[in-house]
Amino acid sequence: MSAAVKVRAKDVGKHYLRVHEKPMLLREAMMLLSGRKQRVDDLWALRHIDFELRSGETLGLLGPNGSGKSTLLTLVAGTSFPSEGTMSTCGRISTLLSLGAGFNPDMTGEENIVASSGLLGMSFAETRKRVSRIVEFAELQGVIDTQIRYYSSGMVTRLAFSIAINVSPDIMVIDEVLAVGDISFQAKCMDALEELQASGVTTVLASQSPVMISDLCTNALWLEAGQIKMAGPAAEVADAYQVGMTGYAMGAVLADEPQQS
């Protein structure tokens, strides 16, 4: 009955050394010779993170700025490695981590579609079959032969999102980038994400919006200073987070407003 596990974090931690001076090979070599030590701060951006995600589940990450949401996303995406513990994933991962990075501004939209899909592990033959679907979803039919540098930031986001969902991912990793598209496109993205969930894609999503998390996710983690403060069903965690951060329950803020003015 239960679907297969797709993502598993086991006591994952990410450690950074905060160096006060730009690291330079010459200086480090001289310090190594002279036996002096550089002043460094230890920083655990994440510690003791455990979770398991099955096929079709969506994990929402909530937490104040600097709580480790984005770091956790890069670990799931596999672009960076944990300093302790093990992050395990199974399947093709598609990422939407920050706006338009990974695109080459000198290439046209279509050239970027082919290049990005290739980097995500699609063959060119497969990609060519999907180009028209990607363009159509992004609603960029008129400008797909234009260099990306002339695109608006919303257009870049639409293209990135459209590629990310069309490379048949098993796992999707999404940072808060959807906010850039206009409302109608956002609504379209939500529908697309729900469709992917239904088809068994596992998603990890970071957001500042508890409403979005409780709407889109099945489970959620509330991160604070790199540790899990609360884990559980998305609606419960989102509620607790909303109350914890603002003192209001979700929905209560809006209801109270007319009386205050």
């Binding site: 330079m24 395990s88 290739g118 980097l119």
Partner: protein, 301 residues
């Protein structure tokens, strides 16, 4: 197995991937905690590269286009540059300094294009991780393919320059002695490519962490230009120094290419053996440095 099936069959897409501080492990759902030994990792890296060859060539093309798209005459410049250098240096050396080197234009052109390839690739690969920072943060595309794609994208203009060397045959027929020793040329050039891949793996991963590596590389290249027989021949130096010029891999590559093209002589076997060992050692060292640094690149760029 059909072509389409082969290109989609990438082990990292169907297996479990476990990432920990010790490295990456592919395989079953439960990690064993064992990390691949160096030689096994090397074999899987090659298999990964082969499975991603399409994207690799796209990366080579992108790198190549990025360099030439800004210039309306494109590739013309890659040929014009060595030509102009050949002209000015010949004027300066033969007319002003009155240096006596037989067939100087071709002598210099061969040295210059081989050194230019070395210098361009080394500066290019050193910054390749920073140039591709966007891709490194967004995809798990194997990082070692970024410096290697820089090597290959520089081989395209180099190929045209090499054609240029032979295109001068009707102009200076006396400068050439073409015979069966040309068969050795690909092997001599391959040594330079192996050397460059090794150095590129080393400097690219180090430069992601230490941003002064690029400055060190440029300084070393300036010294290297004068320490390598480019503007002169090792035969002009005192007898006892000569072995050092030929044990310098670039010195060997340049002098051997000149010998092959201009005199029809085979490269010296003992030096060829020594330089092959050197290049392979540099390659292994580069791969080892990359293996240590590679995991952390996304944290630094």
């Amino acid at each position: 197995m059909t072509e389409a099936a082969a290109s989609t069959e990438q082990p990292h897409l169907t297996q479990w991937v476990h990432r920990s501080a010790r490295g990456i492990e592919l395989g079953g759902e439960v990690p064993t905690g064992k990390v691949e030994p160096g030689y096994r990792a090397f074999v899987s890296a090659i298999r990964l590269a082969v499975s991603l060859r399409e994207t690799f060539w796209a990366l080579v093309a992108k790198d190549f286009k990025a360099r030439y798209r800004a210039q309306s005459l494109g590739l013309f410049w890659s040929i014009a540059h060595p030509l102009v250098m050949m002209l000015t240096t010949t004027v300066a050396f033969e007319w002003v300094l009155k240096v006596q080197i037989a067939n100087f234009p071709i002598f210099y052109l061969i040295g210059a294009i081989l050194w230019q390839l070395f210098a361009n690739v080394l500066t290019g690969t050193t910054s390749s991780m920073l140039d591709n920072a966007g891709l490194i943060k967004h995809t798990t595309f194997p990082r070692f393919l970024f410096p290697i794609s820089t090597v290959f994208s520089n081989l395209i203009p180099f190929g045209m320059e090499l054609v240029l060397v032979f295109a001068f045959f009707p102009v200076f027929p006396g400068s050439y002695h073409l015979n069966e020793s040309l068969l050795a040329l690909p092997f001599v050039l391959a040594l330079e490519v192996i050397l460059l891949i090794g150095l590129g793996l080393m400097t690219s991963s180090l430069n992601a962490r230490y941003r002064d590596v690029l400055y060190l590389v440029t300084s070393v290249l300036t010294v290297g230009f004068w320490a390598t027989p480019i503007l002169y021949s090792s035969t002009m130096a005192p007898e006892w120094i000569r072995p050092f010029f030929l044990l310098n891999p670039m010195g060997f590559v340049i002098e051997s290419t000149r010998g092959i093209v201009m005199k029809g002589t085979w490269p010296s076997a003992p030096y060829m053996a020594a330089v092959t060992v050197e290049s392979l050692l540099v390659f292994v060292a580069g791969a080892a440095v990359f293996r240590r640094q590679g995991r952390k690149i996304a944290d630094y760029v």
